[in-house]
């Protein structure tokens, strides 16, 4: 069972949350070349180790936030609001 620390509600059971994927992706500007959109929509680093990801507290406060979680162990290392940086900068 993952105990996920929502920045607003505190640590809660994983069944309250929806996974949102890689949090490091940056949406390109509308006039960006096709290549930039391809990378944004399809390509992922998919790291084995610490992974910065988005979660939605869908059965709670319904807000998105960032989590740093180790994909080898499922250990949750940190969480932060969307407008805050995770400690230690990007993975």
């Amino acid at each position: 069972m993952l105990l996920i620390p929502c920045p607003w509600c505190g640590a809660r059971n994983q069944i309250e949350f929806t996974y949102g994927g890689d949090a490091t992706l940056k949406r390109p500007p509308p006039d960006a070349p096709q290549e930039a959109w391809y990378e944004f929509v399809y390509l992922r680093d998919n790291p084995c180790g610490p992974h910065d990801e988005l979660w939605l507290h869908s059965a709670g406060c319904r807000r998105w936030f960032k989590v740093r979680r180790d994909t080898r162990t499922h250990d949750i290392l940190a969480s932060a609001r969307p407008d805050q940086a995770l400690p230690g900068g990007p993975t």
């Binding site: 929509v41 680093d45 998919n46 990801e53």
Partner: protein, 417 residues
């Protein structure tokens, strides 16, 4: 040694103490004509077909752990070709045809059991989709039959087919030639057959780097030293992103954990494979008597080869909605495997943008049933430097070109396929 009733009798006379090892465990040579990374079913099949179909037998299979210790040993052994889109139908049907004669091909009993795969239909929408898919299959020469609720009730008494069931059953789409195969035997059979054709199978040998010179493969670095080659095939689904990253390539893949479990063994109760897309659940009974079941991903990136309880609870809930009597069973064990989840739900069997580098991966939930065809087509692509018509659509470039093969129409959400 060829396995037969005579070799069995001969070895019985000596109390089975003199069986030869099924394959050698040689030291890696400094160079090979081709190297396959990954000693699961796909990698071993690739090596076997390189030697058999293309005469390339100076081949090494590098495995970081032991043969079949990854997804080949972690799946639920189901084989079928009941897809909807043409590239998938032709590919998986080619695979199912290889399964049908694989025991004879490898001289190793892989226990292919054509017990049928039945997809349950619970609503008029399900019905339309199942009939459409069944008709698409039949147009492509693949066996598909629609069963009524009464036919299913007579065949599978353990299934709750009453109109008051939580998920009422309106019928089902059956592929009679679908079924199960003994998964470990697939790895061992291909390993033995590849070894007999001169392939070096090297276990406990993890690839740590890929050497590229002038835009082409020059070799690999491993935990057992550097090995030179001009042809490198990656068959490490679950870890494809990590291997591709060693060659500077990003893939349209996320790694997710998928769990499965078995109950304690019981007497025969279920002689087919039953699945329900509405409940997200599938089940079959192994020859040992265990009920083998699974369902959804855990739905977060993972390389951990184990999952969490909410996903298993969902599987059990689906099981009990369809088979109420199974509530008395105890779970014997559960496990997780790491899936390459692609952005359209279909695999990648293709050349990568480095000379001499190919991959077979991106299997999502469907890697086991693809094993023979994946190996056959990956070997073809490695040997010829170009894809076969059966894997021509499964390129890496299709994502940039907008040629997705998206069975579900779920869009670029890896967990949604």
């Amino acid at each position: 040694m060829r396995y037969s009733i005579f070799s069995l009798a001969r070895n019985a006379a000596t109390h089975h103490e003199n069986w030869p090892l099924a394959w050698r465990s040689p030291e890696p040579k400094p160079a090979y004509d081709a190297i396959v990374v990954g000693g699961g079913g796909h990698g071993l099949a690739t090596a076997y077909y390189l030697a058999k179909e293309h005469g390339i037998s100076n081949v090494a299979v590098l495995e970081k752990g032991w043969l079949g210790g990854g997804n080949t040993g972690r799946n639920t052994t189901i084989v079928r070709s009941n897809y909807h889109l043409d590239p998938n139908e032709h590919f998986y049907e080619f695979s199912l045809k290889l399964w049908e004669s694989l025991s004879q091909e490898l001289n190793f009993n892989v226990m292919y059991s054509a017990r049928g795969v039945l997809n349950l239909v619970h609503s008029p929408v399900d019905m339309d989709a199942a009939l459409r898919r069944g008709n698409a299959m039949r147009l492509n020469g693949i066996d598909a039959e629609f069963l009524s609720r009464d036919e299913i009730a007579a065949w599978i008494p353990a299934l709750d087919t009453s109109p008051s069931a939580r998920f009422p059953i309106l019928g089902g789409l059956l592929q009679p030639r679908g079924g199960t195969v003994r998964h470990d035997a697939v790895a061992w059979g291909y390993a033995r057959a590849a070894d007999a054709r001169g392939v070096d199978i090297i276990q406990n040998c993890e690839v740590t780097g890929i050497r590229i010179e002038n835009g082409a493969i020059a070799g690999v670095d491993t935990t057992r030293g550097s090995i030179a080659t001009r042809k490198l095939g990656i068959a490490v689904a679950g870890n494809s992103s990590r291997l591709a990253a060693m060659a500077g390539i990003r893939l349209p893949i996320e790694s997710h954990v998928l769990q499965a479990m078995v109950s304690e063994p019981i007497k025969p109760v279920l002689d087919t494979v039953v699945s329900s897309g509405a409940v997200h659940f599938y089940i079959s009974q192994s020859d040992k008597g265990e009920l083998v079941m699974g369902g959804d991903l855990d739905f977060y990136n993972s390389y951990a080869q184990r999952g969490n309880l909410p996903a298993l609870e969902h599987v059990v809930a689906g099981c009990l909605a369809l088979f109420p009597s199974f509530g008395r069973l105890r779970q014997l064990r559960s496990w997780g495997g790491i899936m390459d989840m692609t952005m359209d739900g279909s695999p990648i069997i293709a050349k990568l943008p480095v000379g001499g580098l190919t991959m077979t991966g991106g299997w999502c939930y469907g890697g086991f049933k693809a094993t023979p065809a994946s190996g056959w087509l990956h070997a073809y692509t490695m040997a010829r430097g170009e894809p076969h018509p059966l894997n021509a659509a499964f390129t890496l470039e299709r994502f940039a070109e907008g040629r997705m093969i998206d069975e579900k129409g779920a869009g670029p959400k890896p967990g949604a396929h």
